[in-house]
C-alpha cells in the first residue's frame, strides 16, 4: 500500500497552553480585585530598584506583593523584601522568560484576594518575554537613559506587547546627554499613542505621577469588579 501525501488543515496556536493559563489568571485577578503589573526590560535597566521603590511607597497604603523572575540567584528577592512587602522568587534556570504557568505555580499558598497590587518582575530580556502573556493587567517596559535613545527601534516587538514605557535612571540623564525628545519619538514610532513616564528610583523624581496612574487604574478595576 503506497501512502499518498496529503495536506491536513490544523490551525492551532502554539502558545495556546500559555494563553489559556494566562486567561485563567487574568479572570482570577479581576474577580479578586487585584491589579497586576508586570515589568520587562533588558538586564540592568533598573527593574529591581524601580520596583523596590514602588513597593516601599505603596506598602503603607495598599496591600502589595511581588514575584520576581531570575535565571539563577535570589538577590533580587532579597532586595525587594527590604520593602516589607511579601516577595517570592521564581528561579527560571536556563529559561529566558517567565510563563503563565510559573506565575500560577508561584502564587500557590498566597491569598490573591488579600492583595491590591501584584507586581511581576520578568527576567531581564527584551526579546523572549514578548511572546508570553502572564495574565497581567498592565505591562511596563523599562528602559534606562544609558541604553541609547534608539532602543525602541531595536526591539519593536516588546514595545508592542507592553502598555506603558518607563524611562529610568533620569538622575543620569545629563551625564549621558540623554535626548528625551528622541527617545519619545522612537517610542511613538513603534507604538503610536504609548504612554510613558520618566523616573529616577534614586531621587524619587517622576514616581508620584506613575503611582497616581497605578492607583487610578486599580480604582477603575475595583469599580468594574464591584458593579
Amino acid at each position: 500500500m503506497s501512502a499518498e501525501p496529503r495536506l491536513l488543515e490544523v490551525r492551532k496556536n502554539i502558545l495556546k497552553q500559555n494563553d489559556v493559563v494566562a486567561r485563567m489568571l487574568r479572570e482570577r485577578f479581576r474577580g479578586q480585585g487585584t491589579f497586576v503589573v508586570s515589568l520587562v526590560s533588558s538586564p540592568g535597566a533598573g527593574k529591581t530598584a524601580f520596583l523596590e521603590r514602588t513597593l516601599t511607597l505603596l506598602h503603607p497604603h495598599y496591600r502589595v506583593a511581588a514575584l520576581v523572575g531570575d535565571l539563577a540567584t535570589e538577590n533580587d528577592a532579597v532586595r525587594l523584601a527590604r520593602s516589607q512587602a511579601p516577595v517570592k522568587q521564581i528561579t527560571t534556570g536556563t529559561l529566558c522568560h517567565l510563563e503563565a504557568a510559573m506565575v500560577d505555580h508561584a502564587l500557590a499558598g498566597w491569598d490573591i484576594g488579600e492583595l491590591d497590587f501584584l507586581f511581576i518582575e520578568n527576567v531581564g530580556n527584551l526579546v523572549c518575554p514578548s511572546s508570553y502573556d502572564l495574565g497581567e493587567n498592565l505591562r511596563l517596559v523599562l528602559l534606562s537613559v544609558t541604553e541609547g535613545e534608539d532602543k525602541p527601534l531595536k526591539y519593536p516587538t516588546i514595545f508592542n506587547s507592553a502598555d506603558v514605557a518607563v524611562i529610568t535612571k533620569m538622575d543620569l540623564a545629563e551625564v549621558v546627554e540623554f535626548d528625551e525628545e528622541s527617545m519619545k519619538a522612537n517610542i511613538q514610532a513603534v507604538r503610536p499613542g504609548m504612554r510613558h513616564f520618566t523616573v529616577s528610583a534614586k531621587t524619587g523624581a517622576g514616581l508620584p505621577e506613575y503611582l497616581q496612574f497605578l492607583t487610578a487604574r486599580l480604582a477603575e478595576l475595583t469599580q468594574k469588579t464591584s458593579v
Binding site: M1, A3, E4, P5, R6, L7, L8, E9, V10, R11, K12, N13, I14, L15, Q17, L95, C96, H97, V127, C128, S130, S131, L153, P156, T157, I158, N160, S161, Q188, A189, V190, R191, P192, G193, M194
Partner: protein, 124 residues
C-alpha cells in the same frame, strides 16, 4: 533564545495530531508574524533538534512569514507595514497601533501520509 521551547511545542502538537489520526508527518506548515517575538532562522535550527527521537524525525518545517498589517484610522482600510520601526500608514502617514496581523505563531497544516503497514500481507 526561546525558539527551542517553541519548537518543542510545535513537535508536541504535531505528534498528538499524528497519533490521533494515525499518519506520518512529512512537514509542518507554520504561519509566523514578526511581532510573535520568534525568529524564523532560530526556529528552523531548533526544529531539527526538537524532532530528534520523535516520530517527526526527518520532517520539515515550512514557515510562511506573515507581514504586519495595521488598520489605518484615516484611510479606514488595512495596510501592510513596510517596516516594524514605523507604525504609520504607508500611504497617508497616520500613526496607528491597531495591529490586525503580525502576531501569528500558528500551525496551519500538516503534510501527512497514512501510516504504512510494513507487515506482509496475510501475516496478521
Amino acid at each position: 533564545m526561546h525558539e527551542l521551547s517553541i519548537a518543542m511545542s510545535i513537535v508536541e502538537l504535531a505528534q498528538e495530531e499524528a497519533e490521533r489520526r494515525d499518519v506520518t508527518v512529512d512537514a509542518v506548515h507554520l504561519e509566523l508574524g514578526p511581532l510573535s517575538g520568534v525568529v524564523a532562522d532560530a526556529l528552523l535550527f531548533s526544529y531539527e533538534m526538537a524532532c530528534n527521537g520523535t516520530r517527526l524525525e526527518g520532517s520539515r518545517l515550512v514557515i510562511k512569514q506573515i507581514p504586519i498589517e495595521v488598520f489605518c484610522p484615516a484611510c479606514k482600510t488595512q495596510k501592510i507595514l513596510s517596516s516594524m520601526q514605523w507604525f504609520c500608514c504607508p500611504e497617508c502617514g497616520t500613526p496607528t497601533s491597531e495591529i490586525i496581523h503580525g502576531k501569528e505563531l500558528l500551525v496551519t497544516a500538516l503534510e501527512v501520509r497514512d501510516e504504512c503497514r510494513t507487515a506482509p500481507l496475510g501475516s496478521a
